[in-house]
Each structure stands twice: as C-alpha cells, then as structure tokens.
C-alpha cells in the first residue's frame, strides 16, 4: 500500500535555462513531507516530473527501487502517484461522480453504469468527509469542497503517493483543519504525502519532515520538530529573514474618517454591514469562505446587486454604482482572483499598470513615453522584479504579479484601497515586501482594508479586524485583542 521514492541527480532544462540542478533525495512511505522553497525554487517542476507531467533532462527517478520514467500523468497514476494541482483539474459542468471517473468510467454492456459510479463515489466522498450528492455539478461546490473532490478522485485511482500543491491557499482555518485531519488519516493508511506550502505555521503543524529547495537545488532536509519557523524561512530564502511584519504604527488620534459604510445589504450574502475606516488605518476583514467578505466589497463597488446601504467618503455621501464611479470617488478594489479579475496576464506590464487611468495619458493619443516612465517608477517603488520591462504580465512570478496588481489599483491614487487576499500564493520574501508596502500606504494617509484568510497576516498587520459570519458582522477586534483563538472563535461562532 505504501510507496518509496528516490530522486537521483534529477536535472531539468527548458531550452538554455536549467531549472533543476542534480536534485537527489529520497522519500519514505507513510509520512507527510513539507516541500519548502520560494517561487522559482523548482518544487513544482520536480513534482511535475514525479507525476509524469514533465520528463527529467537528466538523472533517474526510482519508485520502490525500480528505475522509472513516466511519459505522462496516466502512467504515474497507474503507479499510484497523483498530483493535485493548485488550480483544480475539474470539469466544472460535470457532476462529482463524472469528474471522479473521468477517463476511467465504469461501463456495463458498453454503456455507462451511473449507479455503480455513484455508489463508488459516495464511498470515496465518505472517506474524505464530504457529504454531497455525487450527482451535484462541480461548479456548485465551494473551493474547499472541490479540493476534497480532487482528493477523492486521487483515492479512486488508488493513490499511494499524493502531491498537494498549496492545498490550503484558498481554504479558511476551519476547512484547513478538516483537510489536516484527512491527511493524518491517509498517512495512517500508509499513503505518502508531499505537501507544498508557503504557510510555515501549517507546515509546522502537519508535516513530519521538511525538504528545502532553493534555486533549483536541494538544500537540506530535517525532522519538522527540530526547526523553528524562522529557521525554515531563513533556509528558503538563503539569508536571514528579519521580522515578517513591519512595526505597527497606529494612525494619528485625530485622523479623520475616510470611508464609512452604513447598513449595506447584499441579497443572499450580507444582511446588514456598517463600518468605517480612518486615514492611516489598516482595517482587516476575517471570516470563513462564504462569510460574504468578497461579496460585500464587490457590492460596494457596484459589481453585485445590493438592496440597501449608503456610503460616505471624507464625510460626503457618495453613490457607488459601478467600479468607475467608485474609482472617481477614490475607492479601488483588488480582487482575490488575480488572474481572473485582477490582471490581464496576456497584456504587457505597462498596459496593465495604466489601464484604470488611461485618460491621464490620452491627449487624445496615448503618451507611451509617459506610460513607460510610470512603469519604470512603479517597478522601482513596488519592487517588481522583471527581466524585461516589455514582457507580458504572465512572465512574472506570482509575487511580482501581485505587486504589479497592487501598483495598478494604486495608480488612480485612491483614498481608500481594498485588498482581497493580497498575499495568496505568494512566497515568503514577496509577502514581506507586500506587508511593508501596505504599511507604507497607510502611512501616506490612505485608508487600507485587507481581506484575508491568513490569521497571522491579519494579526500582524491590522489596527482593527472586523469578523464576519453568515452575512453578519460579529465583532470588531482592536489590535490588543487580536489572537488566533479569538478570530477563529468569532468566525466559526464558537466564541
């Protein structure tokens, strides 16, 4: 039931660029490994080689002491190795059962045997603890449930080694906890788990051993219990990462109220929400997925129907009927969905940066030189690392894309900026940069609203945190009241 893996001198080259340099290490069965490294360290490439999505340029992969070269994911799957992608590979319009058996359908007399597939699906869903009808279309599931379906699918393929790439990036604390329980259960069944995450607290909690990679090389491995989080971060970055969060600088006591929301009602999501934020203040929003945080702010900028609520900016009542009106009044919102709603990954950096404020550059012809100058400044101010200033946004790493997105939504010079999951899928170095940036924004006198599912982020960064649950504001905690227990308590209603 369990599987032993050894990488021997694995190298991978894309054209002239070598992204993996002779990586060697082994993985023992029935354990949970945390695979650590910054973006670009080569973790994903190595895992893709293991799961058959890529082939090594040199070196040998050993599975249970047999030399193996997988030419495709199906072959790896046949050997019990399954990779669960960060972005799921589920067909949204098919049902759970259809997804689980996609390409492996059970047939009777040449026809699909739905009854058998539904029965088997129910069995796997029980194993992962998801109580949903197998006939439910996947698009109706929330992210956490889709993740469970992915794991159920892996189990249906008799997975003996499961690779999970950032599985908790989109999960709330409660859902993460359930996932960890499932992982421990799988480990008890003899399944080997390779766990890639940027969340070091989670690595500390769930893994037995860590493997650190940097710049395409194997750096070290150690039992998790023997290293601290700070040490992990230092190993990943290769230097000493000082404090992750900037020192908290409170807004001036006489700082004016910049943005106020009164009695916001969003059908299906928010019953009644009122809050305000002052100049220089960082206000956090905590809550489980489905608590209505994103939906509330989408409604505020007019992208979602609302049935009530009024707004004031700098004390003046304003009508925010569409994102343009919101921007004109000095409010911008950066979505949590970076590639789907935040950035045009197929357009250049310059086009992305100036998109919201083109009228500033159109006289009426666009002044490309001025745009380029603005980009050069933004690249410097926001610390965007890019080889080629003329490249497309998709060429950037996740962290740098996020910095570009921040630059874009700050380019209109908003008085209020809403950042939804600003560090999702971003490595530890870029995270720190973003935290310092957020603090600098507050210091410039802007009101900053941060929506996050990472409790440590909210605790480390915010002056106040509002906790939502089931479409209602539960409480607003001041900095000195911020603890993980308190946040989880209010978010889950167990306080």
């Amino acid at each position: 039931m369990s599987l032993k893996i050894r990488f021997e001198q694995i190298s991978k080259r894309f054209g002239p660029v070598e992204v993996l340099h002779e990586v060697s290490f082994g993985v023992a069965p029935g354990r949970i490994y945390g695979l650590l490294g910054e973006n670009g360290a080569g973790k994903s490439t190595l895992m893709k080689i293991l799961a058959g999505y890529e082939q090594a340029s040199a070196g040998q992969l050993w599975v249970d002491d047999h030399a193996q070269t997988f030419t495709g994911p199906r072959q790896a799957e046949a050997n019990g190795i399954v990779l669960i992608h960060q972005e799921f590979n589920l067909a949204e319009h098919l049902s759970i059962a259809q997804n689980i058996f996609l390409g492996h359908e059970i047939k009777r007399h040449g026809l699909l045997d739905d009854r058998a597939m539904h029965a088997a699906t129910r069995h796997y869903l029980d194993q992962v603890g998801l109580s949903a009808d197998p006939a439910t279309p996947v698009r109706r599931l929330i992210v956490a449930e889709k993740q469970l379906v992915e794991i159920a699918k892996a189990l249906s393929r008799n997975a003996r080694l499961l690779i999970m790439d950032e599985p908790t990036a989109t999960l709330t604390p409660g859902e993460t906890e359930r996932l960890f329980t499932l992982m421990r259960k799988l480990r008890a069944d003899g399944v080997t788990l390779l766990y890639i995450s940027h969340k070091l607290d989670e690595v500390e909690r769930i893994t037995d051993e860590i493997v650190v990679m940097r710049d395409g090389r194997f750096v070290t491995r150690a039992p998790t219990a023997s290293v601290t989080r700070q040490q992990m971060a230092n190993l990943m970055v290769g230097r000493d990462v000082s404090e992750l969060f900037p020192p908290r600088l409170p807004p001036a006591t006489d700082a004016p109220e910049v943005f106020a929301v009164n009695h916001l009602k969003v059908p299906g999501w928010m019953q009644d929400l009122s809050f305000s934020v002052r100049a220089g203040e960082i206000l956090g929003f905590a809550g489980l997925v489905g608590a209505g945080r994103t939906e509330a702010f989408e409604a505020i900028i007019g992208l979602r129907a609302r049935s009530g609520g009024d707004f004031a900016i700098n004390g003046q009542p304003v009508r925010l009927n569409n994102p343009r009106a919101a921007m004109r009044h000095g409010l911008t919102y950066l979505s949590e969905d970076r590639k789907g709603k935040g950035l045009h990954v197929d357009l250049g950096l310059r086009q992305n940066l100036t998109l919201m404020t083109l009228e500033r550059y159109a006289h009426p012809l666009l002044d490309v030189a001025a745009e380029t100058a603005a980009l050069t400044r933004a690249v410097h101010d926001f610390g965007i690392r890019t080889g080629d200033i003329n490249s497309k946004a998709r060429m950037l790493s996740g962290g740098n894309q996020q910095k570009l997105a921040l630059a874009k939504f700050l380019h209109p010079d908003p008085k209020v900026v809403v950042l939804d999951e600003p560090t999702r899928g971003v490595d530890v170095g870029a995270k720190r940069d973003i935290y310092f940036l957020i603090q600098a924004l507050a210091q410039q006198g802007r009101a900053v609203i941060v929506i996050s599912s990472e409790l440590l982020e909210l605790i480390g960064l915010c002056h106040r945190v509002a906790v939502l649950r089931g479409g209602q504001l539960q409480t607003t905690l001041d900095a000195d009241q911020l603890t993980e227990e308190a946040l989880i308590g209010y978010a889950t209603g167990t306080h």
Partner: protein, 333 residues
C-alpha cells in the same frame, strides 16, 4: 506556483516569433511574385489599382471588424447590412432626385451618403445594445440581423434590383471611378480608414480598452472600464465602416440586389483572422487586417488572370492559401 523558466522564449523560437508578425505580409509578397511570374500583366499599376479598389469594401469593413473581434465579439451581419444600406440609399436618392431636390443632384447624393453613415452607426449600436443590455451572444444577435437585413432589402426590391436613376449615377459615379493623383478614391479612403483605425486601436484609451476587454472581460470590469459602453461603441464603429464601404459600393454598379454583399461577412472575418487577430479576442493588428484583405483579393485576381487551374478548383486554391497563411502567423502556445 508558475514556472517562470518554461515561459521565457527560447532563442531558437525568437525568429519564429517575428515570422508570426510578418507572416501575412510574407504570404502576400510570395503571392505577388507568383502572380508576376504567371502573368506579367499582374504587376502593372492598373491591375494593382483594380485589386486595391475592389479590396476597399471588404478592407474597410474588416478594419471595423478588427475592433469587434478584438473585443471578443463577432458580427455576421455586415454583408446583409451593406445590402440594406445600399438599397435604402438608392430608394432615398431616387425619391429626392425625382422630387423636391431634382435640381440639386449633388445635394441628393450628399444626403444619400449621410444616410449610409447614420444607418450603419445606428444598426451597429443596436447590435451593441442587444449584446450588452440584452445579454445575447453576438453570434446570435448578428445571425438574426443577417436574415432580417437581407430579407428587408429583398422585400424593398421585390426580389429584383434597386437601380439608381441615371442622372444621379452620373453625379455619384466619380466617388468610385474617380482618381486623385492617379490613385482611385476608394483606395484613398481605404488607406485613410486603415490609418485612423490603427491610430484608434494602438494609441487611444478606447483602443486599449477594446484590447483589455477582449483579453479578459472580467479583469476589465474590475479595472473600472465601462465594458458595455466600449463594446457597443465597437459595434457602432463597425456599422460606420459598413456605411463607408457601402457609400463606395453603390456608385460602382448603381444598384442593390438581394445578392449584394453576399458572404462579405466571411471575407471580412477571414481578412481579420488571416491578418493575425485572434478570433477569441485580445490580440490583433489593423495593419495585419489590411494585408489580410488585400491577400484575399489578390488570390482571386491571380486565378482570374491565369487558366492553369480548373475553374472548378478556384475555391480550393483560396482555401489552401488561407490555411497556409494562418499557419505562418499562428500564435505560439
């Protein structure tokens, strides 16, 4: 965790990337060389002008179509729209020309031209509103109007031809047959429309917004772009281009029939796509569209100038060239 290195272009692929941009132009040059070898009359100034003049209609429409396709839309109705605009112009001009304004044929033609432009823009704006406000797929909206426009023209013409009165034809025909500096007027207008189109697409906020919407509509919406307005404007712009093409078309034969503009929509879309604009939107060039449109008419010109291939196979040659050029400029994955 995206793998940056997989996406850095390989040196060996660089030149292919450049080929991608000049593919249509290369195809056109090869065709021109082939044409000259097959028939020395091909390279004459008169023949070039013939080809460019007849390209003007499709070319002007294709420039407008570039905007619509760039924004992720499509318009199947342009041929029928051109036919209906042509018919309406002729009816109006005949009525005015035999009535109150009989003594001022130039004014009559001027009013006819104005009608063409206004009708085109209005039809386009109606498309835009049905698509954005009505939330109907552009394919369906314009498939519907494709039938409506042509049926209305056929009804207006009783199934036959609408023909412009002779006196008016004499006044109007220089718009198609006249020349400035030896170059026919439709070619000048084609060049003008193409230059303005390129400027609008590449150097104005509107053009950038069009590209942003085609690349990812959701992102554009979140970036405070007035998506519905911009989409409606692209359709109105295309309608205006159809109006311009039609006002050049009418003086050529002085008539509109139910076969006027038949299949123009496919030729225009083919010109846009052969020219390197992605059918799914977000990426495109007006210059490429112009080359694409010229390329398509050069093919049939060469086929008419030679008889090495059975006339039954003409369409196959055109189809083959389109596929080869599309291959040359296909975007890298």
């Amino acid at each position: 965790m995206p793998l940056a290195p997989t996406e850095t272009p390989r040196a060996s692929l660089r030149w292919l990337g450049k080929l991608h941009a000049v593919g249509p132009l290369l195809g056109l040059l090869v065709l021109c060389v082939a044409g000259t070898l097959l028939n020395s009359d091909f390279a004459t100034f008169d023949n070039m002008m013939n080809v460019l003049t007849r390209t003007a209609f499709i070319g002007i429409i294709a420039v407008g179509m570039t905007f619509v396709i760039m924004s992720g839309g499509i318009d199947l109705s342009v041929g029928s729209m051109a036919a209906l605009i042509a018919g309406s112009m002729i009816l109006l001009m005949n009525k005015l020309g035999t009535g109150t304004l009989a003594a001022h044929p130039v004014a009559v033609v001027g009013l006819g031209i104005t009608l063409a432009l206004v009708l085109g823009a209005v039809f386009g704006a109606i498309h835009g509103l049905l698509i954005t406000r009505g939330r109907i797929e552009p394919f369906i909206v314009t498939l519907g109007t494709l039938g409506i426009f042509r049926a209305v023209l056929t009804w207006l013409a009783d199934g036959g031809a609408l023909t412009l009165e002779n006196t008016l034809t004499d006044v109007y025909s220089p718009v198609y047959y006249g020349a400035v500096l030896g170059v026919p007027i439709p070619v000048w207008i084609f060049v003008l429309v193409a230059l303005l189109g390129a400027l609008l697409l590449n150097r104005t906020a509107f053009g950038r917004h069009v590209q942003a919407i085609g690349s990812n509509e959701q992102v554009a919406r979140y970036a405070a772009i007035r998506v519905d307005l911009v989409k409606t404007l692209t359709h109105a712009l295309l309608g205006l281009c159809v109006g311009i093409a039609t006002l050049l078309y009418v003086p050529r034969l002085g008539s509109a029939t139910p076969t006027t503009g038949l299949l123009w929509e496919l030729e225009a879309i083919a010109a846009v796509v052969v020219g390197g604009t992605a059918l799914k939107g977000g990426e495109g060039r007006v210059f490429g569209t112009v080359i694409g449109a010229i390329l398509l008419s050069v093919i049939s010109n060469i086929l008419n100038l030679t008889s090495i291939i059975s006339v039954y196979l003409n369409a196959a040659v055109q189809g083959g060239v389109i596929i080869v050029v599309a291959f040359l400029q296909r975007s890298r994955r």
